[in-house]
Structures are given as C-alpha cells and as structure tokens.
Symmetry: C2
Subunit: 326 residues, 2 copies
C-alpha cells in the first residue's frame, strides 16, 4: 500500500470509529437493530474521507470535520436503504437489503431515522459557519431526492438522452460528493475560492464515480463488487452506456436495445449480447473518455488550492476512482 | 367566532401562505406534483400555530417564527405520508393518500423530500439560537421515528400496557408538539424557565391531543373527521381505549377484545359491539379523564409565563383541543 492509500485507510477508520459509536440507542429494537445492521455494512466511505481531506486541504484539522463526515456517511446510507426499496434490490455489499431481511415498513422507517441521525451528527459540528453548512447539506438532500425521482421517471419514459442522464446523476450522486467537499472546506475555514474549487472538484469526481459505477455493472467482477453484474440492464435502467449505445446502434443490435426500453428491462440471458453491443457501439469507450475528462477537470480544480499533502491525496483519490474495480 | 378563534385563523393563514409559496420547484414532476398535493391538503395546522403563539408568549414577534412554523408543518406532513404507507391507509382528510393516488415509491420519495424541505424552512430562521433550534428539531424527528416503530411493534406484540402506549404517543405525537412550542419560545428569545414551561405545555397538550384522536376514532363523526371511524379497531391498533378496556373487561366482552389482538385486527361488523364495551368498561371515561388531567397540567405551565394575549390564547387552545370533534 502506498502512503496515500494508507492515509486513506487512517481517515476511513476515523470515520468508522465515529460511526460505530454514534448510535447508542437500543430500543425500539425493530428500529435500531436494522439501523445498526446498515451502518455496520461497510462500504468505501468515499464521501466522509473526501470531506476530511477537503478540510485538511484548506488548512483545517480533519478531527474538526469528523462529525460532518459521519453525517454525510449516514445520509448516504439513508439513500441506499430507500433506493433499495424503490429498486427492489435484494442485496447490497454482499448482504441482504433491509427491506428483504426485515420488511418495507422497517426499511422506510430506518431510512427516515438515518436521515434524522445524519442531521444529529452534522449539528455536533462546531463552526461559525454551521447555518450555512446545514443549508448546503439540506440542498444536497433535496437534490438527491430529485435525482432519484428522475432516475425512476426515466425507467418508464422512452425518450431519455445522455443529457438527461447527466442531469440525473449530477443530482443523485455528484451533488452529495460536492456537498461533502464543500462542507469540509467550510469547516476548515477555507477561502471562498478554495471552497468553490473543492465543490467543483466534488461535482466532477462524483459524476465520474457514477459513470464508473454504470461501467462496472457491465464490465466489473462480481466477486470484487459483492453483487451480480448486469443489474442495471435487467432493470432497464437508462445508464450512460445504454443511452449512448442506443444512439449509435443500428439494425438488429438497435432492435435488441430498444426491446430493453420497451419491456422496461432486459433479459439476463442476453447479458453477453448487450455487453458486446456496448463494446461495438463504442459506448464503453465513450464512458471511459467521459470519466477521464471529468477526472482531468477535477484535478485542475485542485491547482487552485495551496500545495499540501491533502491536495496531493485528493489528486490521487481522483485517479484511484478512475482505476477502481469495485 | 370569538376573538381567540379569529386570531387562530389569522396565524393559520399566515402559515398557509408561507407553505403555499415555499415550494417553487416543478420538476421532476413525479416528485413535486404529489408533494404539492400533500401540502395543499389542509389540516388544522396546530403545530405551527402553537409555535407562533409560543414565540409571542415570550415577547417575540410571530413573524420571526413563520419559517420555523412552516418547517414543523412540513415535517408533520412527512410523517403522515410515510405513516400512511406503513398503515396501508387509503384516505386522509377526505382525499386519497399519496401511495394510493400514485404509488409506494412515490410516497417514500415525497416523504423524504418533505423532511429535507422542513430543514430548508427551519434553516431560514434568523436566530442566534439556530444550532440549538435545529438540534431540538432533529431530536424531535428521531423520537417521531421511534414512536412510529413502537406503534408498529405494538400491533403484533400481545403484551402491551397503557404505560407502553403512553411512551409511544409521547414519542410519536407529544414530542413534536413540545418541540414546536420550545422552538417558538427560543426564536422569541424566551428565558430558560419560559422555554421549559412551553415545552412541557406542548408535551401535555400533545399527549391529550393523541388520546382525543383515539377517542374520536370511536365516538367521532365521520363527516366532521373526513374519514371512516373505527380504523384503529379494524387495524388492531393498541390504543389507550383498547388497552384500558382489555384491562377491565371480563367474560364474553374480554374474549371479544382478545380476538382483536389475536387476529391483529377487529371486524368492522363488530364496531358497535366494541364501542359498547369501551363505554361499559369505562375506557371512554378513563380516556376523557386522562385528557382532562393533561390539559389541566398544560394550563398550569402557562401560569409560569407573563400574562399576555398569547398566553390566554394558549389556554384557550388547550381547552379547544379538549372539546374538538375533528
């Protein structure tokens, strides 16, 4: 492991310690048992680590940002629990989803409580900017909901383009990554221009991250991912890949893809055919180019910050996303 | 209409104006159309009016508290939308519930967004106490979730007593009424003792309100309520009335009630029998006495405040709850 990776791990453990000590309640059991199950589920903890790094990159101490990092991770888990209900997802990170292991009512309530606990964590932050921080956090939640609404709308709408898709992931994924970076910078008392640069860095990185996610659903390794690939295709999710391939494909391949849209989902049996079309239409390459472009832009924003270990780590972090396999 | 009632109406309209102008977004339509439907649904607006009155009762101007009032009303609507999913409720205030008119996914997302919008409204408040206010608000949300979890747990748990029930409604209903009063007092820069008195006033009033709600589900008028009576019985909800009647009833009546518990719900056909048992076991009277006691306690808290029109209105408000028929 290189120095950056080991430092990432240190920050990740810092967040996880805070997370695991954060919820002390035990009763009602029907609420707190599944809630702790969710928070124990692991994950890459990308958003909170990014938040800590952003705080450090403007000269703040990461410790000051741990509560906000905890908040952003709890919030992320809220979105996962509710999205999994809406997407009828059976597993997540190699474990049963809450609505599968318990039931939908439990999952609704656990999500709601997670959202409240995210605010509880955030509001422990000591900062003269706390009202602005809480506002930015809240606008992030609003956009996450809007993004999820678009995502579900697109599933049954036939005319969706790559542009619509980008709007959707900007709201559903990129915004909250940007919020993490921005809040970290605000807690670190960064200058206006540093705060803005880090927010933009987060937007680009977040978008790249989501397109990479779509890509991994097609070319990823099931063991590494901890879930079956092809889920997006089976569900008929209008990902960057599907929309780009639809735009380019002709003849029988086009028909195959149009069938996915028509039937609100593809056939798992045809997964290798879909994958071949994605490669042959250049959709895979287009996605990779798009990711590379956003990562380049993200790193350009970092030039606006003073040189520091945290700044170098943020650059490394962006590159790592580009090369991630899970 | 007396002067208090007319003043109540003025405050209610103030809140409703703020509410109806608060959500300007239109897209994604699948989110904002049902969301506006919810906020247009009317209601008594008890919590926000109470918040405004509490602000005034400690010497603040109600206008300063309108955003927080809007927040508490939006939050209340969030709980209704999600509770209606969990309770499989088909109608509310004489209109279809969101998950019935649209679907469960929409209702989950609308509820989530309402919770975010509640924070958006709250955070527009200008107060040196804003961090404390937001913390109190958040603890209210946590307890509302806990209360709802207990409520659902009790539905399938056979051994529930009146004490458990009081704990549940203290969390599910009373806490948020107390939060409304406390936040109003904080925005009005009330003294510690005034803030505490108003919080306690809210707790008592909120509890009385919920027991009255249970009572109206049995002895209320369907036209005035805008919903069918007996819903709690059909669902097997362990209300104050059911638990008290279970404690007292003997013989065949006891058996009838135990059947409700055993089957996780009663028969609509037997509603008049259940009602007779509630009267004959004294459960109806016990509920009324309990409500009267809490209203008395609530009004006693008001003596700790300086005399004012708002203080008199809060006393009137408590009495009004006692006599409400819808």
């Amino acid at each position: 492991m290189n120095a950056h990776a080991s430092q990432y791990d240190t920050y990740k453990r810092l967040v996880e310690r805070s997370l695991s000590g954060f919820v002390r309640e035990r009763a009602p059991r029907s609420l707190y048992e599944p809630l702790k199950y969710v928070l124990d589920g692991g994950g890459k903890r990308i958003r909170p680590v990014l938040l800590l790094l952003s705080c450090e990159a403007v000269g703040g101490t990461p410790a000051k940002a741990v509560y906000a990092g905890t908040a952003i991770e709890i919030l992320h888990n809220f979105t996962l629990v509710h999205d999994d209900i809406m997407d009828r997802a059976g597993s997540r990170r190699g474990r049963q989803t809450v609505h599968t292991k318990w039931d939908t009512n439990v999952a609704i309530l656990v999500g709601d409580e997670l959202l409240a606990l995210a605010y509880r964590a955030l509001l422990k932050t000591s900062s003269p900017n706390i009202q602005e921080i809480a506002k930015i956090f809240t606008e992030g939640v609003v956009e996450v909901c809007e993004g999820q609404a678009y995502d579900k709308e697109f599933e049954t709408r036939s005319s969706v383009g790559v542009k619509d898709y980008i709007l959707m992931i900007d709201k559903k994924t990129a915004k909250m990554v940007a919020v993490a970076a921005e809040i970290g910078a605000l807690i670190g008392n960064g200058s206006r221009s540093s705060v803005l640069a880090l927010r933009k860095y987060g937007e680009y990185v977040g978008r790249a991250f989501q397109i990479q996610d779509d890509l991994l659903d097609v070319i990823g390794n099931e063991q590494e991912l901890g879930k079956a690939v092809g889920g997006d295709l089976v569900e008929g999710k209008k990902t960057f890949l599907l929309l780009e391939a639809l735009r380019v494909a002709r003849g029988r391949d086009k028909k195959t893809l149009v069938e996915i849209v028509k039937n609100n989902g593809g056939s798992r049996r045809l997964f290798s055919t879909y994958r071949r079309i994605y490669f042959e239409t250049g959709a895979i390459d287009a996605a990779r180019r798009r990711i590379e472009k956003d990562i380049r832009r993200a790193k350009r924003e970092l030039h606006k910050l003073p040189k520091s270990r945290a700044q170098a780590m943020l650059a490394w972090f962006a590159d790592m996303l580009l090369n991630r396999t899970y």
